[in-house]
């Protein structure tokens, strides 16, 4: 690292200015919104009332749980697919073309996916109609809580798998081939190779993928809103969707602001998760 006085600040300046204006100012407004209520009668402190409501708000905690569960399902399916696809792509000739096609769904945008999936995955939707005429069966994709959550994860994955696979695959390429060959010679099978060799060597990119996935799921709103509408049994109301419901549907802007800040605080806590050895899990390096 070079210790230079002026140059780095010059580089950062536009970013910092814009960050300050368009990311920090809104947060300040949101903070003010959640703390006080300014109207014609004067300034009222509403922070404690909002926190009180939040603590007793079952739906808020449920949406947090939903988000966490969906995140875990998402991560599991995602890594499962990433490992399979990465290993499939290893020695194939046209792997660039396959990666290209895998990446292609990323450009559509989640809102469009939600609309498309709404036609495809309902019980009497396109996919089931095809299955019915071919095999005579229909699958209840969205009918119960767990199915819906899995479908949410899959819908999100559709658009993001390519990006993450590309990330991981590039990282995998940085591992010398000889490592894998030595492992096979010493009698390791594919699964052991994955768990004991590949994963430890790609930990940094795995951490990045987990971090970015968490951000993705916390921000997830278009798909629950348009595909499952929060049901069944409110099992697919994610935290972003709930904040939207409070802010836009119920017009409880102050309370929604409080919830938003609370989630930001939860996110902040991630940087305080420590590994068993005492180092921080997410080092800023």
């Amino acid at each position: 690292m070079h210790k230079n006085k002026v140059f780095p600040y010059l580089l950062l300046l536009p970013f910092l200015v814009l960050f300050g204006l368009f990311k920090t100012l809104p947060i300040i407004y949101t903070f003010i919104e959640s703390v006080v209520n300014i109207d014609d009668n004067g300034i009222f402190l509403v922070l404690f009332k909002n926190i009180d409501i939040m603590i007793n708000d079952n739906l808020f905690w449920k949406s947090l749980t939903n988000t966490l569960i969906i995140f875990l399902i998402y991560i599991v399916i995602k890594f499962f697919l990433i490992f399979i696809v990465s290993n499939l792509l290893e020695d194939i000739k046209h792997n660039k073309l396959y990666l290209l096609i895998l990446y292609l769904p990323n450009i559509i945008g989640l809102f469009a996916y939600a609309i498309i999936f709404r036609y495809i995955f309902t019980y009497h939707g396109v996919l089931n109609n095809v299955f019915d005429s071919l095999f005579g069966l229909r699958i209840d994709w969205l009918g119960n809580s767990w199915n819906s959550r899995v479908m949410l994860s899959i819908a999100t994955l559709w658009g993001s798998l390519g990006f993450y696979t590309l990330l991981y695959f590039n990282s995998l390429r940085n591992i010398p081939k000889t490592y894998f060959e030595v492992f096979s010679i010493n009698g390791g099978n594919s699964f052991q190779k994955l768990v004991f060799l590949q994963i430890p060597l790609t930990i940094p990119v795995i951490k990045t993928i987990i971090f970015m996935s968490l951000i993705e799921i916390i921000a997830l709103i278009e798909i629950p809103m348009n595909l499952t509408m929060g049901g069944p049994n409110r099992s697919t109301i994610t935290i972003s969707y709930y904040v939207y419901i409070q802010a836009i549907e119920y017009a409880n802007f102050s309370y929604a602001a409080t919830l938003g800040l609370m989630i930001m605080l939860f996110g902040f806590l991630i940087f305080y998760i420590k590994k068993p050895k005492g180092e921080f899990l997410y080092e800023i390096n």
């Binding site: 690292m1 070079h2 230079n4 140059f7 780095p8 600040y9 580089l11 536009p14 960050f19 204006l21 368009f22 809104p26 947060i27 407004y29 949101t30 696809v85 499939l88 194939i92 792997n95 660039k96 396959y98 990666l99 096609i101 895998l102 990446y103 292609l104 769904p105 990323n106 450009i107 559509i108 809102f111 469009a112 996916y113 609309i115 498309i116 036609y119 009497h124 396109v126 109609n129 019915d132 590309l166 695959f169 590039n170 081939k177 921000a219 709103i221 935290i239 972003s240 904040v243 409070q246 802010a247 836009i248 929604a256 602001a257 938003g260 930001m264 996110g267 902040f268 940087f271 800023i284």
Partner: protein, 265 residues
């Protein structure tokens, strides 16, 4: 074994492409196509009809140009500004560096709906509410791309930078002539990501737009997918109009951008 690998990959890619196929076929079909139980995946003959519906109700040429222009400008400014910051954080140590990093990382977590009113108020305060500047400048600071580029800067070897310094080059020249060329493909990739992000950006543009000629494509799509609408063919066509330009740009870019690292032996 290789054959099984190829077949699985083929299967996966076909699944991935299914939404595209669905949209393409749907845009040529009539309103009831997606709801029939005996649905058939053939191209229909209603493309012109669906297109005319959109043309008669929206300023489709303005909409496409708006989306294109805003996306290009946003992506250009954004990739430059975000890269400069990512490079600075990755290659230099300075006061408050760690604090800034934590603040950046944490700011991503707040859900947009909660922040929405704050963002809008900021734009009113800065006088950019409802202007085209308001559709571009707030979206230049993209933290996800920042995180990506921050990691990508690790691919710029520090020894190369050091040797540049030893040779007496200025920091700016080093960044320009050594740093950027190392990761030019990743920068182009970031440009592409930013372009797509701006192209698909919906919520704030929708709230701010007050004139038909200032719509962007996501607003068009949302307007056509009102739950009570019965122009399903037009909805698919609008989705197609959103997807096709990006796909073209994607394939144009893919040579430069999709560089898979060479396998280290």
């Amino acid at each position: 074994m290789k054959l099984i690998k190829k077949l699985t990959l083929l299967f996966l890619t076909i699944i991935m492409l299914f939404p595209f196929v669905f949209v393409v076929i749907g845009s040529t079909q009539d309103a009831g196509w997606a709801f029939r139980t005996n649905i058939d995946f053939k191209l229909g003959s209603n493309f012109l009809e669906n297109y005319n519906y959109i043309k008669n109700h929206f300023y489709i040429d303005s909409i496409l140009i708006n989306s294109l222009y805003i996306a290009i400008i946003t992506a250009c400014f954004s990739v430059i500004i975000v890269f400069l910051a990512a490079y600075a954080f990755n290659k230099y140590k300075f006061k408050f560096r760690n604090i800034f990093l934590v603040v950046f990382m944490t700011s991503v977590f707040i859900p947009q709906a909660g922040l929405l009113v704050g963002q809008l108020k900021t734009m009113v305060f800065l006088g950019v509410y409802g202007t085209i500047v308001g559709l571009i400048v707030p979206f230049i600071v993209n933290i996800r791309v920042y995180i990506y580029l921050f990691q990508v800067c690790n691919y710029i070897p520090n020894d190369l930078i050091e040797s540049g310094r030893i040779d007496g080059a200025s920091e700016f020249k080093i960044m320009l002539l050594i740093g950027i060329p190392c990761i030019i493909d990743k920068l182009l990739f970031s440009f592409f990501i930013l372009f797509v992000g701006s192209w698909n950006n919906f919520l704030i543009p929708m709230i701010m737009v007050t004139k038909g000629r200032n719509y962007t494509i996501p607003i068009l799509i949302s307007s056509l997918s009102d739950p009570l609408s019965y122009n399903t063919g037009s909805t698919f066509l609008a989705l197609l109009l959103s997807i096709v330009p990006i796909t073209i740009i994607f394939f144009l870019f893919s040579n430069k951008v999709f560089n898979i690292n060479k396998r280290i032996v």
